[in-house]
Symmetry: C2
Subunit: 298 residues, 2 copies
Amino acid sequence: MDVTVLEVAPRDGLQNEAEIVITDDKVRLIERSVAAGIRRIEAVSFVHPGRVPQMADAEAVMADVPRVSGVSYAGLVFNDRGLDRALAAGLDEINVVVVATDTLSDRNQGCTTEVGIERWHALARRAAESGIRRTVTIAAAFGCPFEGEVAPATVLELVHRVAEAGPEEIALADTIGVGTPDRVRTLVTGARAAAPHADLRCHFHNTRNTGYANAVAALDAGASVLDASTGGVGGCPFAPNATGNIATEDLLYLLHRMGIRTGIEPIEVAETGQWLGSVLGRPVPALLGRAGPFPSPT
Amino acid sequence: MDVTVLEVAPRDGLQNEAEIVITDDKVRLIERSVAAGIRRIEAVSFVHPGRVPQMADAEAVMADVPRVSGVSYAGLVFNDRGLDRALAAGLDEINVVVVATDTLSDRNQGCTTEVGIERWHALARRAAESGIRRTVTIAAAFGCPFEGEVAPATVLELVHRVAEAGPEEIALADTIGVGTPDRVRTLVTGARAAAPHADLRCHFHNTRNTGYANAVAALDAGASVLDASTGGVGGCPFAPNATGNIATEDLLYLLHRMGIRTGIEPIEVAETGQWLGSVLGRPVPALLGRAGPFPSPT
């Protein structure tokens, strides 16, 4: 079994850092990731720099990253201006987020879920004309920090509606780390039926230690791509000490020991995670870099 | 579905602490656990005090803990002297450890695996005559820090042999946190077949972030009891910063959101975990106490 791991540390991992990581370190993070075997990276976000200053250097990052054959760079896009920037910067794929609840959608994007779907369809049309790969993420698919529980039927209806734009891939995101394996199975199975022509990706945060169990359940149920961030960075600014995305190195350790191939070298990623901790000035949540591999390297 | 969570923080959680936790704090930890609904606790270890000074106050701890109807106290026992002490202290159950590899068995208990099995049989006979409940744990069932991989067939043969003593329960322990869900399924399924008359318990460490996924797999495969430690304390002294047992509060959060009942209150355990962190002078690995519950309490 082969699984694709999409590295999200440069974007989801670093976008909430109080101290902005310099462009050179972002480029170094991406270089190290590519060297370790990562072939898909969410590298940047084309959001208004006044809104997310951490991502203001998107063009500068993309100008310096290694453009190796087979490595696909993704950028988050919210509007036409963002798509223009993504195309100009030579991104390989765009990712658009549709938030499952109106309250979080309004806080994140200034619009209702309904308007978010319309924007996604318009962006998907323009992207298709430009020949750039399009993915769409349903955020808060497992729960919303403001509205609480989100019904699976609501999420699956959203999957059906975003699928009508013909994305190459649809992602389900547990934005606040409240998903559990049973719900993951329900949503992944349902989403595959609702969008049979799109690949299914999952995005888990390990905020309450459910993230890796969710990843295993997602693969069991037929997801083929998992997001993860080197070091497990990406804590939410509203929840101090909460860990972020599931860590790439720990996910790789788990998958490889289960005989699932990714083409990525866990130890190299763990070393990058430790390095990223030194850049951020604090230990990262990932554990492989602290505990060491098993069996021990000879 | 109902699952029993066996609290191991007082023993496995605290036995490796460089600074010895005082008896009063151990008793307070146990009191708080019982108040939160925990009904099985590995409270003490009857090991030679020169070998594990952290557990030297076993009798004092047991003299002060609340002896509430329905709460079962377990103590780790290595030899006849330990069994004598467990009986004198009024323990409800003894747990004997058989280590799956000779090297780790020798380091931990000063004997081969074969001699460990013989000792277990002798202790089980004496315990049966005394009417105390007997459980046995196969340590290093998923890998050994000295010998590396441990074959499932080796572990299942051990399960078969320890089962001949008629224990009420057999446990499989991932002592160093190298198990993965596929191996958990193989071993739990095999152990149930090899020892159909014993309950099956699993003991996971989250050293490399696989512990919660393993817990879910164990329940799926038919385990009925899971060990966990409040706060997730219990790091190994040889692996600095490595997290310990899976955390009781995070496990409860995961199980309860999946509709699995335990009778234990996650928020109370999370508060105890935070308190334990203040006793130990450092943040505990458990995440629920940091991130807060979801949905939020009203």
